[in-house]
Symmetry: C2
Subunit: 316 residues, 2 copies
């Protein structure tokens, strides 16, 4: 997908973000800026702005909330990295690895505060509700680590919170800010939620197959931590006998060797689970597309459709 | 101070808080409720409601924001306890000691989210700005631990963020919700800020002198962690030669013995620092009272005045 035509408005989003990330103590503000300035695809701000456009609103209406969404996303990344003890993010050391746990907790809290300082009052409740659901999703994700019997339904509930609700909130907020009709808000929200589910399944697939350099984190890192992503859940269901036992052993063990992680990845790949996951991803992407097509034709609608394809076809 | 006449409205605040603390995963919600249901003086909600009354508003206007303020306060307590590695809070084990670091981080994040779900839209920016300043104050507080040259001015800037701004936000929000005039909002905010500074200095004094059972945490815990509270800062200034060196040594050392902590407390007490701190506390309490007296006479104003006296005279 060629994002370049959105560069001007995304630059405005970035300026808005930067404007709230200047302050003292300097150590705290540089910690808060650490990963947000290191890149990121700015998918949530873009979704918000395109949704606003799609219902006839102007970028100006959505700008501050678009920036707030990216702040919330980065707040969750910083705290998730602490909780999951991840060393890398966007190819850089994670915030707590550079600044220590205490300042990293605060750096996340600061981004969260700034998001609510920034966002349009009409979207406060949308963002706050999504944030609460993200916490619920992350708690579920962690609680799955000690289990090998997680169902696909539980998984969907978990990624609904962990990932999809913020994408839903992004388009819902954009639609509200552009004064969309009730139907437009509903259809865009449904688009966002289903894109979000497809997005997370894609992320899980990449976590098994993508190469380390592109991904910016080690291949099989979910396996190492015993995370129950969909490829793992489905592989446990599809594999029989010894193979299932072997995979269960590796997932339950701490401190797996490189060879063991590769063995687990190989078992997942050979189980047929990856194809199943791709089908589920396509299912949610199609649902997203169907909701989108209920909107009137517009350049913004086309761009949202493109963005949805990009999400399911990306290789990082 | 006899709080009993406020019991009915404080019960309503507690019901409002409880209503947002029911949900799943249960583990996360019980972690979020752990210290908020263990007591606490509910000073911030009470300040908010009394400020609202003082400008002629009704309790109903302030209720949801009053509850949100208590959620924000408890969010900061949970995260502060992780950062400071405190074992006890309100006489109970701290959240991270019971639920682990990861769930404790999330429990704080959830309270923070719920606060913005709950608060009146007219007060979102007040609460968000205060939250950002709390992060700044906490970062300063931590950065002081490695220093012995912290000035009183730096200390005031730190407690302004860490403590006073949320009390200021509480009365400011109450005044806004009660449709107070610009002058009323300004005077109440000034009252809140100065009460907040007095409150924190009182807290510091209690940290040196109060008995462990009442306080719910070990005496001298600030000394143990090398915290630079006002009694410590002023003692370092007032003590000469060997005594100053001895105090500096203890503050800089990790893993002090009980005897060393008692020695430090004794040095602080003998330095004359405690009297100085009481004078500073009275100074801010008087400034608070002066701002309050600019408001028209009312029962609520009298209650705020009483609350201010309670804060400086309490023994826990």
């Amino acid at each position: 997908m060629d994002f370049s035509r959105f560069q001007p408005v995304m630059d405005e989003v970035d300026s808005t973000i930067e404007s709230v990330l200047e302050g003292k103590p300097e150590n705290l503000y540089t910690a808060s800026s650490h990963i947000i300035t290191a890149g990121g695809k700015r998918i949530r701000p873009l979704l918000c702005i395109l949704a606003c456009r799609a219902v006839g609103g102007s970028d100006r209406d959505a700008l501050s909330t678009a920036a707030a969404l990216e702040l919330i996303h980065n707040f969750t990344l910083i705290h998730d990295d602490i909780m999951d003890d991840d060393d890398l993010r966007r190819g850089k050391k994670s915030v707590h690895r550079v600044y220590g746990h205490a300042t990293a907790i605060l750096a996340g809290d600061l981004l969260f505060s700034k998001a609510f300082e920034l966002c349009d009052n009409r979207t406060t409740k949308i963002l706050a509700k999504a944030s609460a659901r993200i916490c619920e999703g992350q708690e579920m994700d962690m609680s799955f680590e000690g289990r090998v019997d997680v169902t696909e339904q539980e998984y969907i509930e978990m990624i609904d919170g962990k990932t999809a609700v913020l994408l839903e909130a992004a388009v819902r907020a954009g639609a509200v800010l552009g004064n969309g009709s009730e139907d437009e808000v509903k259809n865009l929200a449904s688009f966002g939620l289903n894109v979000g589910l497809a997005f997370q399944i894609k992320d899980d697939l990449l976590g098994v197959t993508a190469d380390e350099e592109k991904l910016g984190k080690p291949v099989g890192s979910d396996v190492i931590k015993g995370k129950k992503n969909l490829p793992v859940i489905k592989a446990l269901e599809l594999l029989g006998g010894n193979k299932r036992e072997r995979l269960t052993d590796i997932l339950s063990k701490k401190d797996n060797t490189y060879v063991e992680v590769r063995a687990a990845v190989s078992l997942i790949e050979k189980s047929g689970s990856m194809n199943y996951c791709r089908e589920r991803m396509d299912y949610y992407a199609k649902k997203a597309g169907d909701s989108l097509m209920k909107l009137r034709e517009s350049e913004a609608r086309d761009a949202l459709s493109e963005l949805s394809c990009f999400i399911t076809e990306r290789d990082l």
